[in-house]
């Protein structure tokens, strides 16, 4: 592949107490690519993602993001990398004590580049990003007033405020009805086109994987058991892989 490699994980291991949950995972993400990590609940998908942004420390292995060794880098370098990554949490993780627009302004006002902008320029950015996710009328609402799907959209709009080059989606369709789930998947594809982002989408929803993936990895019991495009994996003879396509 001639595209630039923006993320590389090599031989990642992670244990909680005596239980090893990640058993030597290696993967790469290339610019402009949507990589879907498919696996059952408890397979260790979220742990890997949290290690990428160092919300968790790993036991062994290497992680390089945008050429920076995030395992051994200092706080300043880590924050520099984090400013280039967006992370959409399962429930949206909207800050309860702030309205939707304040949620969007919060990271922007603390970002080294964006805090130089005037209030009106930041407000324009808020409007633009809320419009991108179809929430232009929700700017003054509180998170408690939003539905599950709206929270995810608002969380995505907050992520987009920092113009990330790479977005991690943690179970984007979990807990949503089929229609709302479908609209979120559409949004993921729109964001990829409009903002030219690369994404890792972790999910156990095969429909989500089919709609959004350029390439897929299947995780089971802390290991990657198969890799390929949706159609290649669907045709796999491996019983463990077949289980996901039933």
């Amino acid at each position: 592949m001639d595209k630039e490699r923006i993320l590389h994980i090599n031989n990642l291991h992670k244990s909680f107490d005596d239980k090893e949950v990640i058993k030597g995972i290696s993967l790469s993400l290339y610019s402009g690519e949507n990589l879907v990590v498919l696996g059952k609940s408890g397979a260790g998908k979220s742990v890997v993602m949290k290690c990428i942004v160092r919300l968790m420390d790993l036991d062994d292995g290497d992680i390089s993001v945008f050429g920076t060794d995030v395992v051994n880098c200092g706080e300043v370098e880590l924050n520099h990398v984090r400013n280039r990554i967006g992370y959409l949490f399962q429930e949206g993780a909207m800050y309860d004590s702030m309205t939707v627009s304040e949620n969007l302004l919060f990271p922007a006002k603390r970002n080294p580049k964006l805090r130089k902008l005037s209030d009106s320029e930041l407000e324009d950015m808020v409007s633009y990003n809320l419009e991108s996710v179809g929430l232009e009328d929700a700017r003054d609402l509180w998170p408690a007033e939003l539905s599950g799907g709206m929270k995810k959209r608002a969380g995505l709009a907050r992520t987009l405020m920092l113009s990330p080059e790479m977005i991690i989606y943690d179970e984007p369709t979990t807990g949503l009805d089929p229609f709302t789930g479908e609209s979120i998947l559409e949004l993921i594809m729109e964001v990829k086109e409009k903002y030219k982002t690369s994404s890792i989408i972790i999910t156990h929803d095969i429909k989500c994987a089919k709609r959004t993936s350029d390439r897929m990895l299947i995780m089971n019991d802390g290991k990657i058991i198969s890799e390929g495009t949706f159609n290649v994996l669907k045709a796999s003879k491996d019983e463990n892989v077949k289980l996901f396509f039933k």
């Binding site: 942004v53 984090r82 400013n83 949490f89 399962q90 993780a93 309860d96 990271p107 603390r110 969380g155």
Partner: protein, 263 residues
């Protein structure tokens, strides 16, 4: 055998928490000096913690002054020292009862609130979301709250002392018909700066540790709704214990520093 294991586990857990709080304190001082102070959030928190406890401390203080006066008066009158009543009640409230009692109320009201709030933010990934967007949640959530409790508790204690003073006056007035001017003169007749300074200093420490411990419990809470309840509970229990320990230390230190030079 099971008891022994349980005691060993609890002891280890206790020292683990003490170590955690020490590290958390170090991190607080690192952040307060290194990073931009969240002034707006600090003012917001000052308003919240002050407003939350104002009525409760006010009512408690008024009742404290009133009840203390009503209960002590017959004993003091029996000793023929009724004229010392205002001074006796005022000094006991300002130096000891007020700071400890109002700090305990503050820990119950504000400490549990901070513990529960930060813990629910942890559970719902809000703190992690701040972390991954490089917005330094420790600075925004912890430094602002601890600074607010450190500033606001001494002010609330002054407010409580004043209302307890008024409560004491109302109590004595009801029984003896004493004038406010005479009550005021007697209350302050043997009251010196050395009486109020240790109380003020310890109330600053009370405020600091209530904020710090509550933030620690919430920030490092376990996952799930059970974690939220545990964090709120632990914040109050640990803060209350620290209030008494600090009070014991402050009494010894004040005695050494103020009374020692006078023999």
């Amino acid at each position: 055998m099971a008891y022994k294991t349980h005691i060993q586990f609890s002891t280890r857990q206790f020292f683990h928490e003490v170590g955690g709080i020490a590290k958390f304190t170090g991190r607080f001082f690192k952040y307060i000096f290194r990073y931009r102070f969240e002034g707006r959030e600090f003012i917001n928190q000052c308003y919240k913690v002050g407003y939350q406890s104002l009525l409760l401390i006010g009512i408690t203080a008024l009742i404290l002054g009133l009840v203390l006066t009503i209960q002590i008066r017959p004993i003091v009158a029996g000793l023929g020292a009724e004229s010392w009543m205002p001074n006796l009640v005022f000094i006991s409230i300002v130096t000891e009862l007020g700071p400890v009692m109002f700090a305990l109320i503050f820990a119950g009201k504000v400490g549990s609130g901070i513990g529960a709030e930060l813990s629910s933010m942890r559970v719902s990934d809000q703190i992690d979301a701040m972390e991954v967007s490089a917005t330094k949640p420790f600075n925004f959530l912890v430094v602002s709250r601890v600074s607010a409790t450190t500033v606001m508790l001494p002010l609330l204690i002054f407010f409580g002392d004043f209302l307890a003073f008024m409560g004491s006056f109302i109590g004595l007035k009801a029984y003896t018909g004493i004038s406010f001017q005479l009550f005021y003169t007697r209350a302050f007749s043997e009251f010196f700066f050395r009486d109020i300074s240790p109380a003020t200093i310890k109330s600053i420490f009370f405020g600091f540790f209530i904020g710090l411990i509550s933030c620690y419990m919430g920030y490092n809470s376990g996952r799930g709704t059970e974690g939220v309840g545990k964090a709120a509970n632990a914040a109050v229990v640990a803060s209350s214990l620290v209030i008494f320990l600090l009070d014991l230390l402050a009494v010894q230190l004040a005695d050494l520093l103020i009374n020692f030079p006078r023999g």
